[in-house]
């Protein structure tokens, strides 16, 4: 492996001399730049093509979500959470509901747990597919976009049939779910997962052994496991750096402890390994979805909401609950004063905290590689800026 990787590292020999006769230049990258995935602005100090320092400037999409939370009753907060990481609304709903349920000491029925996990994993697949499409297109590979969006469309149609929305799902409720699954829905999910394994092979055929893809990603944006932990980076970047840690296994919630799946880990901490982690997670998510389908087919009866009080008023106190979102650890820190509105609700956004490590990852690389590094962190600005 190491011999194969040697020589593909996209490094330019550094003579130590300034490249353009200029020592340093400041360059604005974004906020209106197609590869910044939204409104991220980076102030770069460059020496020729080489990045001396990168300073992210965020906040262009700040909507005061945490302030809005404080003005809404507990059930009314859920639609706001959709708009944090707007390509993975189900996991946002889930993390918030978990926090409130913990403070209410609410039991979620088994069937609701399985449907929640099913929605989460479909959401993870759709989020990773969107990441794969955009990260590949940033590096000039246009074809994967069409392949991944074909499958993502199927998932969004499934969401639409379940809850009426494709992106801002608002699909979970405190104590359970919005409603029963529509008839025939499970069979359609199963039909999708049956072909999806071959679809993943198709993406891998396009990229995994693609020479250009490997040259653009191997050795780019290295962030070791220790650095990840120091910067608080979680999710695929952490697992791509050889740390086998996933909240679904580390601090299991819902029915994850009963499900059979693996945590993919790759050791090299670069953009290529983070790609491999996400592709492997697609396969694992597919496995989880299939197991949920089997369980739900065997147990069609059951409640989808626990015994939820009519007015939700958790006891005074504070609680933190987290889920493994597609981007990393997504947590909600809830402070209640005993009234029917959250006194303070803090989002621990994985995108925001992972983005903080970007200067560390970009230092010394070329400007063209910065595009790969922004892509590999997988940020959604709705969640960074809140």
């Amino acid at each position: 492996m190491s011999e194969e990787r040697a020589g593909t590292a996209a490094s330019v020999p550094d003579s130590g001399e300034p490249m353009l006769g200029l020592r340093e230049m400041e360059l604005n990258f974004g906020p209106q730049h197609p590869s910044t995935h939204g409104v991220l602005r980076l102030v770069l100090k460059v020496d020729g093509e080489r990045i001396v320092s990168a300073r992210p400037d965020i906040g262009y999409l700040h909507r005061g979500t945490e302030k809005l939370f404080e003005t809404e009753t507990y059930p009314m907060v859920i639609p706001h959470t959709d708009r944090l990481d707007y390509v993975a609304a189900a996991t946002n709903n889930h993390a918030y509901c978990l926090a409130v349920e913990k403070l209410l000491a609410l039991e979620v029925p088994k069937k609701a747990q399985y449907i929640r996990v099913l929605l989460d994993e479909l959401q993870r697949i759709s989020s990773h597919l969107l990441w794969l499409a955009t990260a590949a297109i940033d590096l000039g590979a246009i074809t994967p976009f069409f392949y991944t969006f074909r499958e993502r469309e199927v998932i969004l149609d499934l969401f639409e049939d379940y809850c009426g929305a494709r992106l801002t799902l608002n699909c979970m409720r405190i104590g359970g779910l919005l409603e029963e699954l529509p008839p025939g829905w499970i069979e359609r999910v199963r039909a999708f997962t049956e072909v999806f394994d071959k679809n993943i092979d198709e993406y891998e055929d396009l990229l995994t052994e693609n020479r250009i893809w490997k040259q653009r990603t191997i050795g780019i944006g290295i962030l070791t496991g220790e650095q990840c932990i120091e910067w608080g980076v979680t999710g695929p970047p952490l697992r791509g750096a050889g740390v086998k840690w996933d909240i679904r296994r580390a601090i299991p919630y819902e029915c994850y402890a009963d499900l059979d799946f693996e945590i993919p880990v790759y050791p090299n901490a670069d953009t290529y390994d983070r790609y491999l982690v996400r592709v492997a997670e697609l396969r694992q998510s597919r496995r989880i979805v299939l197991q949920c389908c089997d369980w739900l087919a065997k147990n069609p009866e059951g409640e989808i909401r626990g015994k939820v009080p009519r007015v939700i008023k958790p006891v005074a106190g504070d609680v933190y609950a987290a889920v493994e979102a597609p981007k990393g650890e997504l947590g909600f820190y809830l402070v209640s004063n005993g009234s029917n509105k959250p006194y303070r609700l803090r989002v621990r956004p994985p995108s925001f905290i992972n983005l903080q490590a970007l200067p560390e990852m970009a230092k010394g690389h070329l400007v063209a590689d910065l595009v790969a590094i922004i892509g590999t962190i997988d940020i959604v600005l709705g969640e960074v800026d809140r």
């Binding site: 932990i229 910067w231 608080g232 007015v311 005074a316 106190g317 947590g331």
Partner: protein
């Protein structure tokens, strides 16, 4: 929905008091978890042995342990937890505004240990308005942006922070949006653009009858 405007009942500064008895006359409330004293927790015990005077109180709610510490001890406490107790990952750092309470703010740190079976611990400190809290960005690099966010949204300054600028709002913004007295529909920021038409400052104003202050 009857008591939407119930005023907040901030807990006292550093005492483990949220074990307030449930109002006996109230209608049957949904049973919730209760807070317990956690000063017998081995991590808390070792912490108070290593740093005398650091632990003011410790409580446990739904399995999550919270340690109250004085603000000046925060870096030492976090360094101890990181070094000796292997809480190497700072999950979250945030603040809570208790408005009427003295001291006004809570700053909350949430730590994770990979080695100790994914154990987590919360450290909380109380900071008065206008008083600086020592930075922990020297202990955890991850604290850098989180402290900038707390400064931006709550107006708590962190002493010794290497780059304490606003992060989500812009330089020159007046006020700190997550303070309870900041109006929820925002403030008039036109003063910066049209100084002849708008008054100086443009910060949160309670005088304007159209603005409601939500808390």
């Amino acid at each position: 929905m009857t008591d939407e405007t119930k005023p907040p009942t901030p807990p006292p500064a550093a005492a483990p008091a949220p074990t307030k008895p449930a109002a006996p006359a109230a209608p049957p409330k949904p049973k919730g978890p209760t807070a317990n004293d956690a000063s017998a927790d081995p991590v808390v015990q070792r912490l108070s042995a290593a740093l005398p005077g650091a632990v003011l109180a410790a409580k446990e709610l739904v399995g999550q342990v919270t340690v109250e510490v004085p603000p000046e001890k925060v870096p030492d406490v976090l360094r101890h937890l990181k070094g000796t107790e292997a809480y190497t990952y700072l999950v979250d750092l945030t603040a809570v505004d208790w408005k009427a309470r003295v001291p006004r703010f809570d700053v909350v740190y949430w730590l994770h240990s990979f080695e100790k079976g994914n154990a987590r611990i919360r450290v909380r400190t109380s900071v008065a308005d206008g008083v600086e809290c020592p930075t922990v960005s020297g202990v955890f690099k991850a604290a850098n942006w989180m402290e900038r966010e707390v400064w931006d949204l709550f107006g708590i300054r962190f002493a010794g922070h290497p780059d304490l600028r606003r992060i989500l709002t812009w330089d020159g913004f007046q006020g700190h949006p997550l303070r309870k007295d900041f109006p929820v529909e925002g403030i008039d920021t036109g003063a910066a653009i049209y100084p002849d038409q708008y008054p100086e400052g443009g910060g949160p104003s309670g005088k304007d009858g159209n603005r409601k202050v939500v808390s």
